[in-house]
Symmetry: C2
Subunit: 335 residues, 2 copies
DNA sequence: TTGAAAGCGCTACCAC
DNA sequence: GTGGTAGCGCTTTCAA
């Protein structure tokens, strides 16, 4: 069943059928109706390959993501997917892991599929040294990165002000009497580094101590973090509050503290469902995915349509206060 | 840069270039080498549309999923994606929500993209009455459903024995002295119903009470469930254990119980990270996605290659014991 | 082993 | 408003 069959059965030429297929401009209402009727009757579906050949577009955008099973990335993918679909674009999903080699390989694969654009989820896609693959991609199609900052032409960056969020956290804790804050992080992506910098600058600005042994790299899981914090406590390392770069890390710390019946202020990051699920519920920084993702997709659509856009959008975070720290109850600091 | 350019620069015909492109059978080693060299030099990438036109395949499979932001589905998508990619297949992701209308629409969309197969994630895709869209899809391409049972030709089903898992849960709780188990569920998909049936049959078999007011439908989130259970407790409804159809629901119940300083056995479902994140950590049924997904993809690959396969595979679940219920410590039941 | 040429199904330009 | 037709870039016979 192809355009010729439809043309024959409708008593028109394939040119006319094609016109109907593409919006029906310059076709008489009657003809259009007739052709549409035949199409429906025959259950006709235009061949996407042939169409792609002509238009050189398949109405698909590639999403690159290090790990969709991570709740944060999953939410981002979900949001981006639904926004894109609202614009009639399909999503080619590609999970790369953290190895640069694979990121490059999969980006190339996406480009080979002739996607109309590429969305990079997370600042894990901004490399410290080698971003040549992104540069190359951006020459071919629009590239947008969510929560990363890659300073290359054709790359649209939409991000959350992680650094400022962490500075604010530090400030708040300090103003509640905390002086030795334990900072836990997992991986120093661009975003991870911003957070760490925010913490450090905050400490400096507000006069908190921040010795090296209070800035700890931990695995991105509950048990690994728990063990790390547990051993910190056993070693007699003293701190009076915890800031984590991820909710899941905050929970690991929380559990280690609970073992020792310690109840310190804890602030997580991402405001994921984990923050709600924790007991006591975790105060956490909302990294604003709900805003970031639609914004990113809208910018992309505008860019594709040739409208002038700002290709650097920074959105402020928001602290969601729950049980582990509140700016109202000052009495929650126990040493 | 197309096949003609490569042919010209290599001093051969496009036919030869095409042969090289497709494995290089019936091409002299020398010619092949030459052509490959030119391709690399020019950074040539075959046009996927033209290729698709000829071969009528784009090496892509569609994944349909009600909601990737759900941690369970996200994990499934992640696993399926990586397995498919290992077989050289790309993934077209499509999130439908729970409305039948959208499921149908998006399934049709995937088919229009000429995917080579469709993977349905979760039994939410098995409808009670109308599965005509799946039937139709299965006529065109192989369809596999993960954790659902759709009895149609061409549909491969890989699922976990949810019913048995729930019977076992009931049995275990009963043998630990529980007699009035609260059963919390969110949505009665095929899987949801299996779980409920397992619970009911378990109660019958082991002599547990299971009045209607102990089988409660709740929203699939922590707060909604918490409120529901809270009001149950306020109404004086009595129960001595909780089984939930989802970890997140179990956590909602757990929080409501904690408010009243009640510590009853609780068993969640899915063994997600939420089970670990909960305090106390949740005993939960592992629904074996790590096995289900690779199995599903392997069956699909075999099926595509025309090998004979079993299109119904059922895998046993596994109870992962943590703090909220253990078969070893009998003393954890407080009424 | 290689080349010529006929599709694959559609879009878009040019006539009428 | 409609039809004829030349591509789009590839695969795949069929001959040589």
């Amino acid at each position: 069943m192809n355009i010729y069959d439809i043309a024959k059965r409708s008593g028109v030429s394939i040119a006319t059928v094609s016109r109907v297929l593409n919006g029906g401009k310059n076709v008489s209402a009657k003809t259009k109706e007739k052709v549409l009727a035949v199409m429906k009757e025959e259950g006709y579906t235009p061949n996407i390959f042939a169409r792609g050949l002509g238009l050189n577009s398949i109405k698909m955008v590639g999403i690159l993501c290090t790990d969709v099973s991570d709740i944060y990335y999953a939410k981002a993918v979900s949001l981006v997917e639904s926004c894109l679909r609202a614009h009639g674009l399909d999503v080619l999903l590609c999970c790369t892991g953290n190895q640069l080699e694979n990121k490059k390989k999969y980006l190339k694969l996406l480009l080979q599929k002739r996607v109309d654009a590429v969305v990079l989820i997370g600042s894990a896609f901004k490399e410290d040294t080698d971003n040549s693959h992104i540069e190359e991609a951006a020459k071919q199609v629009p590239v947008v990165i969510i929560n990363g900052l890659v300073d290359l032409p054709g790359v649209i960056c939409v991000l959350c002000d992680d650094k400022n969020a962490m500075m604010k956290n530090t400030s708040l804790l300090h103003s509640c009497g905390c002086e030795r804050i334990l900072y836990l992080y997992d991986i120093l992506t661009y975003s991870g580094r911003q957070k760490l910098n925010g913490f450090r600058e905050g400490c400096l600005a507000f006069g908190c101590e921040h010795p090296e042994n209070l800035t700890i790299k931990v695995p991105k899981n509950i048990e690994g973090t728990r063990e790390k914090v547990r051993s910190l406590l056993q070693d007699g390392v003293r701190f009076d509050a915890v800031i984590a770069s991820e909710d899941i890390i905050a929970i690991g710390a929380q559990k280690a503290l609970a073992e020792q019946n310690l109840s310190l202020p804890i602030i997580g990051f991402n405001n994921s469902v984990f923050a709600q699920s924790a007991t006591p519920a975790l105060t956490s920084v909302d990294s604003m995915l709900d805003t970031l993702c639609p914004t990113a997709v809208n910018l992309l659509m505008d860019f594709i349509q040739g409208k002038p856009i700002s290709n650097r959008v920074m959105i402020s975070s928001r602290l969601v206060e729950r049980d582990t720290f509140s700016t109202e109850t000052r009495g929650n600091v126990e040493k």
